[in-house]
Structures are given as structure tokens and as C-alpha cells.
Assembly symmetry: D2
Homo-oligomer: 363 residues x 4
């Protein structure tokens, strides 16, 4: 990280940037009110910081140990203007603000009729964003892999339905990109690009998706620590795309003997991550629990923990869903969840407001 | 399990019990309105069920696979009167009802003055039960082990202070029993006997504590599955003591790299356990997160998930606590938590009432 | 799975295959001495097995639950000729036979000189296959990502060096493919294509790599169960490529407190996997332990557990390696390991021979 | 830790010890050839090290961060005589030397006849120490808990059989102590006192067992890190008993999906622990894998990893064992394992000899 003086000229800044690039690194420039920070992206060990510290206009030049500085609240503070919360606008939905945002829809798009019916119903239930899987990651090559697994034509068709359903019911749409070959197609039709848990460590896919400059819904791998999760989110930010929605979806359960939830929902990760980064954090209670009868409670708990939004699977008839039926809610159940969660969100927000007022008073 | 007919006489019941005991097993007799169930405690494989099925007054005699039947809601249903929720009365506090119960106090009792001051303050903040560790389990033999580690006299003294503080501020008191030699002492002074996470698998301690017939606060081991947790709770119930308060306190975090919470709080275990058993479930966000700045959120989340109560460490001056200072709340912070959690509890309870009304309507 | 009768004609077989394809599935045909088995690849739930069972020439038509049938020893037995061990020939090296195969080389290719010098030295030490990373998966975007991270030209150059080093010192070469865009390049120059632990769940990459019809070195993810590992290996086999070398490289350690190894090497997975599948199993003690001082012991232990080969990082000067220096062996140390492991391999093989002789005697 | 000068008098040493005790700590005095070290047991934070550093005869007075200093090789070095390996003599068996030591016998003592027959057969197969469980820790209160669970008389009887079987077949005997009330009984009859995995964290039991001054076989909990394991071994050493045999028996497996081994045997912990401490390390492949067909391989692997001994369950008829039959070996299979492991042990020892000779040459 190279911090420029208040009075550094653009020329001086450009000179530093040019110097950094000579060493094979890229830069992320944050111009704050009081100072300009040049973040270094790449292997910082190549940089002779002493040399840069001596250049005109440079106030400080230091290596930073943290693995995720571009998405860090702490780091944003150096620029003179700390980013508390990043708000991401997708069509007319604002993610990361005071409103609780609900992503809902079928696990997998199965037909135009199925998708449109669910879209209509989740919209009525109060959802803001429509989900629907086209390329489904599966543990077995013998399972249904989404319409994307049936052929390219089917994938294009399903993508178009998704786009149209979003338009018809006035919701931005999100769907998963499972492999690099799907990036262009999905980015053409979807508003938000999802990277699933199994691909969290797939840095090549992350970079390729990030370059589309659309918001990315980024899920935590079930075997990843929080630090790893944020370090890989940084791969997206390093491509100049900070519109990242982080999503907790459960980690591998511990212990011997029968498990009662599919994964272990790590809800303390929500406030813990929010203290590290300014990015919004969502929770997916459907995949985490794998149990429809736990989703009401765990949705409420997620919001109480501070989640900015929820991602919930819904189906008018969960029993006939081709994938993950046992964890899908009916539209009525979804509405029930949304109403309760919005009440809790109000409590949480009003308390945040009070806390901040107290802090301001003190300082 | 042996189910007696409606019209079985006491004599017939006694004959069956006598028969079971001959095989070296103990019994748990549940007399419901419509039938009497004789639960078998011990190695069921020794029992010739066919022989018992043929005895007069016996309706059914079957082995049960489930590892925790005495504490199971499902099993209680066989007796004709399903136990939905067990309410545990300790002095004037009712655990397991509609009210959120707060256990608060110092991690360790350090002095009479410290304890009394904290007791007074947590009472004012809204706590119902006073905690204070005397025998502290520690990962290092070189750490402070509580006053109980200083000598027997100190242990007795601290136990008496605890009892007196409870009386003075009108709160039942709970403290941990770490080893079998401490059972008599602690049971003399404390209202609720705690078995810590590290002793969850210690079946000899469980049996010895259970026999005291006082409510037991039973914590989940950080490496235990939910099934294991309940299977070991069954060791307590098997001694005829069903006043068990289960407590989730976090499991071992997963992943490589820096962790941001001490343990991973498994909040989905709360409703999952409540569907298996009628026992109340508490959450200890202090030990789970190890971070004071996450306790507000995680307390709210616990209650939203359905917790019957919380166990929170408090200290008038966390910085000077001998153990776990970084996770203790000040009394003011505690009050803040209690107020918010009570609002959420009200939401949760009113929704439960509505759901049950709907269910009754349908049936 | 559809099993044809002994006397089924080619025409009848073709009719069944055509029928299966109509349902959108692919087939894997195994012609054994006594019968022909048509394995189904895809969503078996679409197949009306009763219909197929009634076709001429069909002996049996059944769905199979197992998630990895193509690589299963059990499944191969149905074809009348059980595959005990698959031998994979790469240039003049036979993997999966009685000889212990050593893959060695630098973690990352850093320069032509470094690569050639290490290649020469590991060859002398007794290695059979040369490794060298070009596209390095890294937990931080700020770490050196291999020469492949410097630019495409550098990636091509490094690939060519690797090929030439292999030719000069008469060793097949293996390097990792980290993303789909690298498949064509790497497949042009390398003899064995590696899929790293972080990409184990990346089914799109697996399929694309498999299609190159070159042997695949497939590493287990650090959060994957054995069943998951084999289920994803099946994605490779489902593309018609059964030349898969499985590689155990350690799973996430458990417990709180300081860890003494980077990962936990799951050596019991070696014989456990060998009982499930006929594929060769390698072990990478370098990444698993992350400690040079444990590699001798853990290499010996791997071979004693039954490993078909080892993958070991080596460097003439571990201290100056750009990545993972602390776990690299010097060529002298490598030789020491190879000599000891070959002795143990001899013990293991001679015992297997004896056991098999005894079994044959009995039957 | 307080290091006394070469020329410190006994009086000066006594004065320091007295001073330490005044602060409520205990001491562990190591008199080396060149200096005397006074190790502090208890909460070191109470000690004013500056004050002690100024006492006559004191060379250095420093707090030590390490949680296990009494069992540490590093720490033993300070005393001027580094303990490389501690040899523990039990009757005529030496544990921790160059010979591989085999503990074998039934999982549970079921009858005198069963025990004596197995004892005779494992002796013939080459075992050195006889095992047999009397108090069995079980996950379910409904499972057979060993003869100790049938009543005290049965427990005494079984203990006496064990002692006699050991005498008759000339083997020291080991059995588990599951609770504090069993310490006196077991210590009267057994030569080695076992603390099972589930009790690893049970510091009160550890202290009570340690005081018997008999060798302790101490098993790692399945959820414990290596550091935790050693930190709790230190509880035993802190009672003045350093005759501790550490035993790896598998940790909780990771991942979703079917598991093929009961636990994950962490074999790299063997050499990792041996570099930290001078205590002998055993491996129990029976409990770790839970699979008889993996025990041969995993025993060989354990020895190759450096294990000082193995603990293996054996039964003349595994199918009729009351507990853990599926993992017991027949005496013939046991012999097969012992013969192969002894060959590997010879390889390992001869290499250690060579390495040490080389090191001595250099220095």
C-alpha cells in the first residue's frame, strides 16, 4: 500500500502507479478526501518499499499482511473515508441498506411454467430477487444437473425464461455459474452472478466472473474458514469488482453419529464478517439445514445475527421438485418467514441507529 | 419398552417390572391416562421380548433402537400424553416456559466482593439465575483453575458465597462440577448443577450428578454431534432425573487460516434438538464466540432460533477478570442484550401460539 | 446398469444402447468374457428399467445406487472379469503395478535453470516422474501464482521447459491445470494432467480435462469425505477416461490450539479406497505435513499403508524456493526416502503375493 | 522456570522452592549435571520473576509460554541433559526402546475362560502386554458397559482375572479407568492404567490416576488437537508421574457422505509428537479404523511412521465378541501383523541409528 500526501499531484500519483506496474503488479486507487491510496494487487514481496517511500508525493509505502485489503473496512479507513457498508444497487433493489432483501425461487429451473408460477408466487410473498438454478453442481454424475446439463440449447432457453420472469414480475434475477464456459451466457441474462460453495476456491472462475462487472453472489465453501472466504472474495475485488454479496450456507457438521442438519449454519460468521468488511452478508438457510421445518427459525436467527438478506428455496409443490424438495418452502410459508424476519430486521436496525447515535454523542 | 394394557392391574405391572429387573436392567415407568409404559434402562439385548409380550396385562413388548428414549418427545407420545415441553421449576424461576431465562454472572468466582457486586448488577440488568465458576476446567495445568483449584477450604468458601449471593439477590445459582469428588459439595450449595462441555462424555460423572435430583445444566462437547449430545443426556435421565437443561456452546471451527470466533455456534441445533426432545435448550454465546462484540447479535440470534434461555458472562470490569475477560459483558451491555432478546422472544412465542392454533383448527 | 445375456448379439446390444441414449443418458460398455454390461451415465431415474429388462438379449436391467460405479472394483466384477488393479502406462513408467512410483520436482517452475537442475537431481535420486507447478492455486491473490500468473507467454515457456526437461531426463511430466482456459495448453505439453485439491469439486474442469484422454492425477479436497472424492473421480471416468491416479494430500486438522502439521494425512484412506476401486492411489506427504522433517516418516508410512506412489517436492536449495520451501526435500534427502520406501514396498508386495496364494489355495 | 547456577547450594535451592510454594504453586525439580531447574506448576502469573531472579544462587527466572513443559524434550534440554526418549519399564517389558511393543487382548473381558484363552493366544502370537476392558465407555446407556457395569463384585472379579491372566502368561496388563471411583480398584490389579479418549479432558481423573505412580496409557480425544493432547498429558506429569504412554486412536472424520473408516487415524501426529516430547507414542488401529481388513496395513503404517508400539484388539472368534467384534483380529492375523511390523521396525531403527551417527560425525 502506498499512501500519497495530501498535496501529491496527479503526475506524482501516475509515476508511482507506473513504477508499481513495472514490477508486474496491478493497482487499486482509492481517492479519499484527504489522501490517495494506491493499493497493490499481486505479489508485494517484489516491491522495494523503501524505494517507493522516497518518491516525490509519497507519504508512506508499506507492505500489508492482510490477505483481503480491498474489501476491508479497516483498509478503507486509511483513505480518509471509511466505508461502513457498501450498498449494491441492482435494478431497483438496494442490497446492503436498512431493508432486508429476500432472494427466493426454485432450486432448479425445470420448465417455463414452473419458473413463472413460482416467480409470481414468491413476488406476492414479498421476495425481492428471483433465483433459479440452471447449471447445478451435484455430488454425483448420476444426478440431475439442471437444464444446463441437458444441452446448450436448454441452457440458453432456461436463461431466457429466467430473464423474462424477472422482467414480468419486476425482480432482478440470480443464477449460478458453475464453470468458465458458462460465464458469457449467464452474464448476458442474469442480473447477479452466483458462485456456488463448491467453486469458492476456483480462482480462475472468480476472476472471469468478476470481469463481467455485475454483482456477484459469493458463497462460502463448507470447508472454509472465514479468513479463506474473505481471501477468495478478494480475488473478485482484485478485478475491480467490489459488488460482492457474501453468503453463508453452512459448514461441514462435526461429530460422530446421526446428524440432524445437512450442514452447520455458522451464524456468528455474519457479524464477524461484517466487522471485517463493508460487504453485505446473506444467509442461505435452505441449503444449510436441508430441512424445511427449520427454515423459519433459522431465517429469523440469521436476521437477528445481522444478515442483510436471505436466500430461500421455494416451490408451489416441494414434493415434486427435481432437486432439494425437502428443503423448499411453499409460498405461504415463505411469506410467513418474510413477515417475521422484517419485524426482527426493524429491531436490529433501530438498535444500530441508537448505538451509532450514542457513539457520536461520545465522540 | 413394554406397553401395558389399559386395564392392566398394578399387580401385573409389578410382575413385569420384577421380571425386567431379573435381567439386570432398571425401569422407567410412565403412567399415562390411557396406558402405562415401562421403559427399559440397560442392555435391551438381554431381554426376551417374546416372553414378556405373553405376560398378563402386556399389550406390546419391543426393543427400541433410539439411543435417547427417556428424553424423547416421540417416545413420550406412546404413553398417551406427549410431553411437548418440560418445565423445570427452580426456586421461583420456571425454565422451559414462555419466558426467556437469563443466567449471568462472572466466569469464575474470584472473591466475595466481586461475586456480590456482580450478582447485584446482573439482577438489576434483568438476569434470573446467577452463575459463577468455582472449579474451572482449563486447557493448561498452568492456568488459574478457579478458587476450587486453590484448596478445599477455598472451594467451600466460594460455594457458600455463591449460595448467599443467590439468596441475597433472589436468584437460583448454578456452578460447574468438574470431577466426581466435587459432587457432594456443589450439590449442597448450588440449585442447578452444571456439567461442562469437556465432561459431556464422562458417563460416571453424569450418573453421579444426576443422582442428586437437582436440575442439571448439560453442555454439548465441542466435538460432539447432536445425536451424541442427546445420547449422553440420556445417561442423566436414566438415573431418574429428567430436569436437564441442554446447552449449546459452540463446536470446533472448520477450515484453515485465521478464525474469527473461538468456536462455531451451532444455532440450528436449537430447533433441531427441540424437535427431538422436550427438554429446554439454552445457548452460551460467551464461550462460543469468545468475543464481547459479537454477544449482542448472537444472543438475539439464539432467541430467534428458539432458545429457552441464555448463559452470559458478566463482569463490572471485564479487563480485570482472571479468566475469559475478553468475552464478558458489563452490566449495562447485559441489560441491552436482555431487553432486545425479550422483544424477540415475544415475537417467537406469539408466532408459536398462532401456529398451534392453526394446527388445532385443522385437526 | 443393463446386463446382456451371454448369447446377446451385437445388434441387440446396439438396440439397447440406442434406447438408452434416447433418454438423454450416455453409456459405458464393458465386454467381459461371459457377459456384456452397459453402464448408464446420467440421471438413471429417467430410465424405465422394466421396459429394458424386457428387450431381447437383456439378462437384467437395474438401477445402481452407488455414486461411483465406473471406477468400482465391485461393479467391474459383474462383467465377469473383476479388475483388481488398473495399470496406467505413461511413456515407459507403469503406475499401479508392483513398483513404487515417485513423482518429484519443484513446487513451482521458477526458471529453466532451476527446473533442469532439479530434474537432473531428482532423476539421480530415483524419481520416475517430474512435477513442476506452472499455474499455482493460492489462498491469497497477493501471493506468487506460478509463472502462469505472470502472463500467457510465461505459461507457454514454462510448459515447454517442463516438456523438455522430461525428455532430457527421461521422465514423464505432470503439472496442475487450475482453470478451464489452461486445459489445451497443459495437455499439449504434459504427460499427466493434475487436478488440485481445491478443484476436486469443479465438475466442469474435471470433464474438460478428462476429455484430453491423458492420465489424470486427481487430488482429494481437504474437506471431502472418501465417498465424495470417489464420486467426483467418477466425473472423469464418465467421460471415458479411467486413467485416474487418486492422490491423498491431507484433510483439515481438527481441534483447538496449535497444530503441528499443515493438514491431517488420512493414510487409512489409502487401503480403504483400494478396496473400493481399482485405481492407483498416491500420497503427497509434502503438502499434507508442510514439514520437511516429517516427510521421511510419512513417506514410509504411506507405502506401508499400501500407496502405489508418492508425490514429493524437491529443491536443491529449499530456502530459496518461491513457494513452500519449508516442505521441500533436498535431492539427498529424497534419495534417502526413496531407498527406504522401496524396501517397505518390497515387504508389502511380497505379503500381498503370499496372501493371494493362500486365498487361491483355499478356493 | 527458575534456573539455578552451577554452584548453587542446596540451601539456596530450598529457599527458592519455599518461595515458590508461598505463591500457591508446586515445583518439579530437575537436577542436571550442570544446573538445577525448578519447574513451576500452577498459575505462573502469580510469580514475581524479577524478585526470584535476584535471589542468591539463581541464574535465570522466566515464565514459559509452553503448555507442556514437563514432558517437553526442549525443556529437558535446559537441565543440561536432554531426554531424547523416556523408557518405561513395566515388569519385564521396556516401552520406548528399540523394540516394538504390542498390547493385545479382547475389547472387553467377558468371562474368565474368554480372557485366559485370548491371553494365551495373543502371547503365542507375539504380544507383550495384555489388554481387556472392564469399565467400557459407551455412547449409549443401552449398550453393554463391560463387566464393571454389571456390579462392583463383577468388576472386582474381572480385575482379578486380568491380573492372574497376566501372571500366568507373563504379560503386564492394562485396562481402562473410566471414572474416579474406579481408580483404587484398577490400580490394585493392573500394571498400566488406561485413560480413554473420552476422558482426555477430564483433568480430575487424570490427576487422581497419575497419583497412583503407575504407568498411564493416555489416549487422544477424537476432537483434540495435538497441542491439547500434550497439554492434558501435562496434568499427569504435574503430579510427578512422567511414565506416560501417549496413544493416537483416530480423530473425527471430515466431509459429507459415507465414511469408510470409523475415525481418521492421524499418523503424522506420531513423529510430530515425538519431536515435541520424549514420551513413547502408541497407535490403536483397531478403534481408529473400526475395520479388521484395514488393520494390517495401518499397523505397518503406524510403525513406519515411528510408533513405539501398537494396541490391537484380538479375539479367537471376533463374531461373538460383545463389543467391537468387527475390528478384532484372530490370533493368526495378529501374528501376521506382528511379524510384518517387526521387520518395518528394524528398518526404522537402523535408519535412526545411521542418522544419529551422521549427526554425531558432523558435530
Amino acid at each position: 500500500m502506498i499512501i500519497m500526501r495530501n498535496d501529491a499531484t496527479q503526475e506524482q500519483i501516475d509515476q508511482v502507479i507506473k513504477g508499481v506496474k513495472k514490477y508486474g503488479l496491478r493497482v487499486d486507487v482509492s481517492k479519499g478526501r484527504y489522501k490517495t491510496i494506491i493499493g497493490l494487487i499481486g505479489d508485494e514481496r517484489k516491491i522495494p518499499f523503501d524505494h517507493f517511500a522516497a518518491l516525490p508525493g509519497v507519504k508512506e509505502a508499506v507492505g500489508i499482511e492482510i490477505r483481503y485489503k480491498l474489501i476491508s473496512r479497516e483498509y478503507s479507513r486509511f483513505a480518509g473515508e471509511m466505508v461502513e457498508r457498501r450498498k449494491i444497487k441492482v435494478r431497483n433493489v438496494e442490497i446492503g441498506g436498512d431493508e432486508l432483501i429476500i432472494i427466493a425461487g426454485p432450486c432448479a429451473v425445470e420448465s417455463k411454467e414452473q419458473l413463472f408460477r413460482i416467480a409470481e408466487e414468491v413476488k406476492k410473498a414479498g421476495a425481492h430477487i428471483l433465483r433459479g438454478g440452471i447449471f447445478k453442481p451435484r455430488s454425483s454424475v448420476y444426478s440431475f444437473q439442471g437444464l444446463g446439463g441437458e444441452g446448450w440449447e436448454e441452457a440458453v432457453g432456461a436463461s431466457q425464461w429466467l430473464q423474462k420472469a424477472g422482467e414480468m414480475f419486476d425482480m432482478p434475477v440470480v443464477t449460478e455459474i458453475r464453470g468458465e464456459a458458462q460465464v458469457d451466457l449467464v452474464a448476458e441474462y442474469a442480473d447477479i452472478l452466483q458462485i456456488g460453495a463448491r467453486n469458492m476456491y476456483n480462482q480462475d472462475l472468480l476472476a472471469k466472473v468478476a470481469k463481467k462487472k455485475k454483482p456477484v453472489l459469493f458463497k462460502r465453501h463448507f470447508g472454509a474458514s472465514i479468513e479463506e472466504f474473505l481471501s477468495f472474495a478478494e480475488y473478485i475485488a482484485a478485478e475491480g469488482n467490489k459488488d460482492i454479496i457474501l453468503c453463508e450456507r453452512g459448514i461441514i457438521p462435526i461429530g460422530k453419529g446421526k446428524e440432524y442438519t445437512r450442514y452447520t449454519l455458522d451464524l456468528a460468521s455474519v457479524p464477524a464478517i461484517q466487522k471485517e468488511t463493508y460487504l453485505p452478508v446473506f444467509v442461505d438457510p435452505s441449503h444449510a439445514t436441508g430441512r424445511r421445518d427449520l427454515i423459519f427459525n433459522m431465517s429469523c436467527a440469521s436476521v437477528a445475527a445481522g444478515a442483510n438478506g436471505l436466500m430461500i428455496e421455494a416451490h408451489y409443490n416441494p414434493a415434486e421438485a427435481l432437486i432439494d424438495g425437502p428443503q423448499a418452502l411453499t409460498p405461504d410459508e415463505l411469506k410467513d418467514v418474510i413477515v417475521a424476519c422484517q419485524e426482527i430486521k426493524k429491531l436490529v436496525v433501530s438498535r444500530e441507529v441508537k448505538t451509532k447515535a450514542l457513539e457520536n454523542e461520545k465522540s
